[in-house]
């Protein structure tokens, strides 16, 4: 039985730079961090792996420097890690990324459970997890706030529907995308660091995956960013006059205008 946890490196500052030509985010190693949602996926994977004696594996597609994020996952109790890195993977949208991750999972011989963060904070799409499930033909539950029970056949989870909580029992194999603060994320110990340093971290290229070049990287990406723009930041002030009731009514009208 195996749990795969997918992690992504994102810019650590809120100053994100777009490449003016490709209109994609410029990624550099310095100031890059683990996507905050993924930290919870890693913590869930490490805890469930330990509890059930399942193998855990961290998977990431990214530039070579991402190996430090994977090493960090190993220090937090994940058993082994695979970095998918190749120039051919560059420029991937969520679909091409999901195809690449899926190819890696197939090469591993599949997984019982795949955990992803609910979304990455740079692109904000929340698509990669569900698309990965689609590529592999696995079940998927998004925005999971609690993993309540796990057996060899199924997993019971609680998810946030936006206006309530939903409890689901899902057949394995399944992909779960987990919410922020869905569990504690313990820091590694000094001893954990030493263990993590000794765990295997492999690097796979497109050729290693035997991936179809039409499904990965820029070629495999149906999305085209045609134009990006910064929404104009408008500020207006409108004086409210009259009695408290009149002012409240005027305010209500303005709020309705904005939200409509």
């Amino acid at each position: 039985m195996r749990i795969v946890v997918c992690v992504k490196q994102v810019p650590g500052t809120n100053q994100v730079y777009l490449d003016p030509e490709t209109r994609s985010i410029i990624r550099e190693a310095r100031h890059a961090v683990l996507n905050p949602y993924d930290a919870f996926a890693v913590a869930w994977a490490a805890a469930l792996g330990k509890q059930h004696g399942w193998e855990t594996l961290a998977l990431s597609m990214g530039i070579p420097a991402v190996d430090s994020l994977l090493r960090d996952a190993l220090c937090r109790g994940i058993d082994r890690a695979v970095l998918l890195t190749d120039r051919l993977f560059a420029g991937a949208d969520t679909w091409a990324t999901a195809n690449t991750l899926a190819a890696a999972v197939r090469k591993l011989g599949g997984a019982s459970l795949i955990l992803c963060g609910k979304m990455a904070i740079d692109g904000d799409t929340a698509q990669t997890g569900p698309e990965l499930a689609e590529c592999l033909g696995y079940a998927v539950v998004t925005d999971v706030t609690e993993i309540q029970a796990l057996s060899g056949e199924q997993v019971q989870v609680c998810r946030n529907t936006g206006d309530g909580m939903q409890q689901l029992q899902v057949q394995l194999p399944a992909v779960l995308t987990v919410a922020k603060d869905s569990c504690e994320t313990p820091m590694p110990s000094i001893a954990g660091l030493a263990r993590g340093a000794g765990r295997p971290l492999a690097c796979w290229s497109a050729a290693d995956l035997g991936a179809d070049p039409g499904l990965i990287g820029k070629n495999g990406s149906p999305t085209r960013v045609v134009r990006t723009e910064t929404p104009p930041l408008g500020k207006q002030s409108r004086p409210l006059a009259g009695t408290v009731e009149q002012q409240a009514a005027a305010l209500e009208k303005i709020i309705r205008e904005i939200v409509s």
Binding site: G12, R30, V33, L34, P36, A39, S68, D72, C75, E184, P186, M187, P188, S189, I190, A191, G192, L193, A194, A197
Partner: protein, 530 residues
């Protein structure tokens, strides 16, 4: 009196009568200068009228130094611009800032490399251009309270966790502009105005001359913010740093920036017994290289208090705590340029833990900004819980205040002082919590009296400890300053001759004893507000 600059203090300005010591003072007037020129006018008019002046920065001080005892409150909150940038002889970037600049804001500006440079002169802008393209830098002093003002930090010679590696504020000041009590100004640059032996001769920009006979005492060889700094051939800036708002008003601070290391790790180690943590400190400190920047301590009572508040108070539910209770914890901060160097340093800590009988499994390693923030939250939570605890006790007995010590001892007295605290406290039955900068043999003992009887017991303990610590060559205030609450201890530390020396310095700089009355020592008799 410049009417528009000095106004009557109104009831809604009662906040200006206290600081974080929670002592309440009183004052008749208040002034908010916006330029050095206004500051000079205010001071010279108070000088002529013989009105006492209490300088205030951000009022985060905990020794009541900014609490007025009558007269005029001089708030520097509006003197808060960063005026320029230059390089010193060693090539370091130096920022020229007004005293009301708040530390947290300055940090953000340095981090973002974003300053309002439009009114800087051309040379300053050129240096800023180099700075902008250069690597990242930082101002190292880090008092836990980041809303402190630069002027307050200079006046108290503030420190923080990283002072273990970088030293207190004093080490990072290139120059000061000071307005004296009579409105004259001094422009001081480190290395330029130096004492001849223990005599310092200064010329004001208005042509006046000050001949200051510096104190003859020897400063303690420990971290200290107690009393005027004095040494043979010392720099004039060092006299004003740590002078608790009594010698002059600092109107500009030239502060030195240091390169920000690429990597910063925090490692918290947990111990079953407090003794293990003390031994660990001595060992780690002895073999530390340049990568160790801070060593912070939490005793069993502090950890228990945190656990109690995590369980009972919503503000602390997210506080990370170890799975089971421990006797003590030490947080070590490392910095460096290479991962490998910090891995080695961390592994070495693990071996040191084993040597004192602790397990490297019982530790947290924070290498990401997210995890480092959690360690910071942990460290901030300790004083916050203590304040809440005191507030709760005050509901029963409003006259109670926190009794918090700020004393340091030489390296070889660390274990002795920790044992002294613990034995006395256990015997007294007083609730307490200890934490702080153990790397500098400087922990804060926080006594949490529940009634006036316990309060008196606490004061007795404090005094007894001060006597012992002075005998060991320690300091009665390592970083908070003496203010109004610790004047007795300053007298114990330097004795009557030492106080007389300080009064003499004060008299030369402020002949009418108007600035910061009640700080450090009592004003001479019969010189109340006129």
């Amino acid at each position: 009196m410049p009417q528009n600059l000095i106004r009557a203090l109104t009831p809604d300005q009662a906040d200006y009568l206290r600081d974080e010591s929670r002592l309440n003072g009183q004052a008749e007037w208040i002034a908010f200068p916006e330029t050095e020129q206004q500051l000079r006018e205010i001071l010279s008019s108070c000088h002529q009228a013989g009105r006492p002046v209490t300088v205030q920065g951000a009022r985060t001080g905990i020794a009541a130094a900014a609490v007025p005892m009558g007269g005029v409150v001089l708030s520097l909150t509006r003197l808060n611009r960063v005026r320029g940038m230059k390089r010193n002889a060693a090539g370091h970037y130096v920022l020229c800032a007004e005293p009301g600049v708040i530390l947290s804001r300055l940090r953000k500006q340095i981090e973002d490399k974003h300053f309002a440079v439009s009114d800087w002169d051309e040379p300053a802008r050129q240096v800023f251009e180099q700075f902008r393209r250069d690597r990242a830098f930082f101002f190292t002093p880090d008092p836990t309270e980041a809303t402190a003002s630069l002027g307050g930090m200079v006046a108290c010679n503030a420190s923080g966790a990283r002072s273990f590696r970088y030293g207190p504020v004093r080490r990072h000041i290139q120059g000061l502009r000071v307005v004296l009590a009579d409105g004259q100004t001094l422009d001081l640059e480190r290395g330029r105005e130096k004492a001849d032996g223990r005599t310092l001769t200064l010329r004001t920009e208005q042509g006046g001359q000050l001949r200051i006979d510096l104190p003859t005492y020897t400063m303690p060889q420990v971290k200290s913010a107690a009393g005027y700094y004095a040494a043979d051939g010392m720099d004039a800036v060092d006299l004003f740093i740590g002078s608790d708002g009594t010698l002059g008003v600092v109107s500009q601070i030239d502060l030195v920036l240091q390169p920000l290391p690429d990597l910063l790790w925090g490692v918290t180690c947990f111990f079953g017994e407090e003794e293990q943590a003390w031994q660990f400190t001595e060992q780690v400190r002895a073999d530390s290289g340049t990568e160790l920047v801070a060593l912070e301590y939490f005793d069993s009572q502090a950890l228990a208090l945190l656990a109690r508040y995590k369980a009972s108070h919503p503000a602390f539910t997210r506080l990370g705590l170890p799975q089971r209770p421990f006797g003590a914890a030490i947080t070590c901060e490392f910095q460096g340029e290479r991962e490998a160097q910090l891995w080695d340093a961390t592994e070495h800590l693990g071996r040191r833990m084993e040597q004192v009988g602790a397990s490297p499994e019982d530790s947290w390693v924070a290498r990401t900004a997210f995890d480092r923030d959690r360690l910071l939250f942990f460290r901030h939570a300790a004083p916050e819980c203590v304040n809440l605890e005191i507030d709760r006790n005050r509901q029963q007995e409003p006259s109670l205040t926190k009794l918090g010590t700020d004393m340091s001892v030489p390296d070889d007295k660390l274990q002795a002082v920790m044992r002294l605290y613990r034995e006395d406290l256990k015997a007294s039955g007083l609730p307490y919590a200890i934490w702080g900068h153990i790397g500098a043999n400087h922990v804060h003992v926080n006594l949490l009296p529940r009634n006036t009887g316990e309060y008196e017991t606490g004061k007795g303990l404090y005094r007894a400890w001060a006597n012992q610590i002075i005998a060991w060559g320690g300091s009665v205030s390592a970083e908070h300053g003496i203010g109004k609450l610790k004047t007795d201890y300053l007298a114990l530390m330097f004795g009557e001759p030492g106080l007389a020396d300080m009064r003499r310095v004060k008299k030369t700089c402020d002949p009418r004893f108007l600035l910061g009355r009640g700080n450090l020592f009592a004003p001479p008799e019969g010189r109340g507000s006129e």
